[in-house]
């Protein structure tokens, strides 16, 4: 899989550069595959190499949160300014309990 790696029971999502509409569709498919076919129960979204996200990505994060439950999804390495801005605009920081 291109964007999702399986580590134990965790699906680790890492998208480089732009997390945009096309990648969102692929990430969703790959994550569903990891959850349904490979036994993953938790999700980690690593933004270390991500520089941009659009609204489709924000919607995906909420969908994934519903799939595994709010206790089982974590976001890490959020440091790119466009991502922080997009998160704040959609109040994702409040929903995911992030300090940005």
């Amino acid at each position: 899989m291109e964007y999702v790696a399986v580590d134990g029971n965790t699906a680790v999502i890492a998208v480089d550069n732009r997390f945009d509409l096309v990648k969102t569709l692929k990430v969703k498919k790959e994550t569903e595959y990891a959850l349904n076919q490979q036994g993953c129960k938790q999700i980690v979204i690593d933004f270390d190499k991500t520089k941009f996200i659009d609204s489709s990505a924000n919607k995906l994060f909420k969908e994934l949160r519903k799939m595994v439950g709010k206790e089982n999804i974590k976001m890490t390495n959020i440091h790119a300014e466009p991502i922080i801005r997009a998160f704040k605009q959609a109040k994702m920081d409040v929903i995911f309990g992030l300090t940005l």
Binding site: L21, L25, K29, E32, K62, A90, V94
Partner: protein, 380 residues
């Protein structure tokens, strides 16, 4: 008809099919589709006749014959016209090549993006139509029946835009005038664009329209109250509701102002007279269904010097304001697109100018006058 022929099948013809096979398995995991492979043209013809696939993916470079030749042979066969063929890795096109989709030789990443967009859309539509053809046709017809038409009066014109991603859209909108000529409206975007979305669209329209009529009757004092009520109703029905995004608005003729409240939609674009491009009104807000007691805000714009206001779903917003991202993605349109474009005539602009002295809004860099008229803090 035997079971062999009824089952949905793909035939992938490529001397090295492993990579594309892996993509297809991931993309189509939710569908019951068998994927067969053939390494050359002759093997492909045998398997095509045996399995009658609805979709055939053919690499242009095959060991025994050109992929274009194979594609044309299949297309000219008795069942060929019902078979969709994607030809890829094309460096040139031979005369009389027959296929439905052509992909030039390109980088693996670009090809994957383009193929993914085509395949997913193909099967979403196909499965939806196969499973619910009559219901779908009715739903498509109904979705258009519900939409208001373009119109104009002496103060403004309204032009709607509605373009579903597939046959059904997760977006919708509505607007109407009251007796005084004020325009009330709503636009929203539900998750997805399928039969399930159609049902959500109808529920959302009912909720939003009911509460907007109550606002029109002054039962609710503000537009944010409308969204807060709808949000609360969503949680009353389902503890874990979907996340539709919505905007409600009023174009107030008497005072020359535009008021709006948003839940997750970024698309309010305001264009001033004499300017070439509109400016996006930036506002942070929750989506509906995020938090049960989420608070929303109402904003007010004085219409003096405003020429056009566009209210749109993110489908249009991102196609226009993230143009470079769209161009990189190589997908022309990725989502439902819906918008209400309101063009303000001089007469309304003058009313707004006359009222500007009494307009209580703060001065802003973006517009002549712009004001947030409610500022509640979300309760967590």
């Amino acid at each position: 008809m035997s079971d062999t022929l009824k089952k949905e099948r793909i035939l992938l013809v490529d001397r090295c099919p492993r990579k594309i096979l892996e993509w297809l398995k991931i993309w189509l995991v939710q569908y019951d589709i068998s994927i067969h492979t053939a390494a050359n043209g002759i093997q492909a013809l045998v398997k095509y006749n045996k399995y009658a696939p609805s979709l055939v993916l053919i690499c242009a470079e095959l060991p025994d014959m050109s992929g274009m030749t194979l594609s044309s042979i299949i297309k000219d066969s008795q069942t060929g016209k019902k078979t969709i063929i994607y030809l890829y890795d094309l460096k040139e096109i031979m005369q009389n090549t027959k296929a439905d989709f052509f992909f030039n030789a390109t980088t693996e990443e670009k090809f994957e993006d383009a193929l993914h967009a085509q395949i997913v859309n193909f099967y979403n539509v196909r499965f939806m139509q196969n499973n619910h053809s009559l219901e779908i046709m009715r739903a498509i017809s109904k979705q258009y029946e519900k939409l208001p038409k373009a119109y104009e009066n002496q103060y403004f014109s309204v032009t709607p835009v509605f373009s579903a991603y597939g046959d059904l859209s997760g977006d919708s909108y509505d607007y109407w005038e009251d007796e005084a000529g004020n325009l009330y409206g709503l636009l929203f975007d539900c998750t997805g664009h399928d039969f399930l979305s159609f049902s959500q669209v109808n529920s959302m329209r009912t909720l939003l329209k009911r509460d907007m009529h109550l606002y029109e009757l002054s039962v609710y004092q503000s537009l944010n109250e409308v969204l807060e009520t709808v949000n609360s109703d969503l949680f009353a029905v389902d503890q874990d509701p979907e996340n539709p995004v919505a905007i409600v608005f009023k174009l107030d003729i008497e005072h020359g102002i535009f008021e709006y409240s948003t839940a997750g939609i970024p698309g309010i674009i305001v264009k001033k007279r004499g300017e070439e491009e509109g400016q996006v009104m930036d506002a942070a807000s929750f989506m509906l269904g995020d938090l049960e007691d989420a608070a929303f805000e109402t904003f007010r714009i004085n219409l003096a010097d405003v020429e056009e206001i566009t209210v749109c779903s993110d489908g249009l917003y991102e196609l226009t304001y993230n143009k470079n991202v769209v161009e990189e993605s190589k997908i022309a349109k990725h989502d439902d697109v819906s918008a209400i474009i309101m063009q303000v005539k001089d007469e309304l602009s003058w009313i707004a100018k006359l009222n500007a002295g009494t307009f209580p809004g703060k001065q802003s860099n973006m517009l002549g006058a712009w004001e947030k008229i409610s500022n509640p803090q979300p309760e967590l």
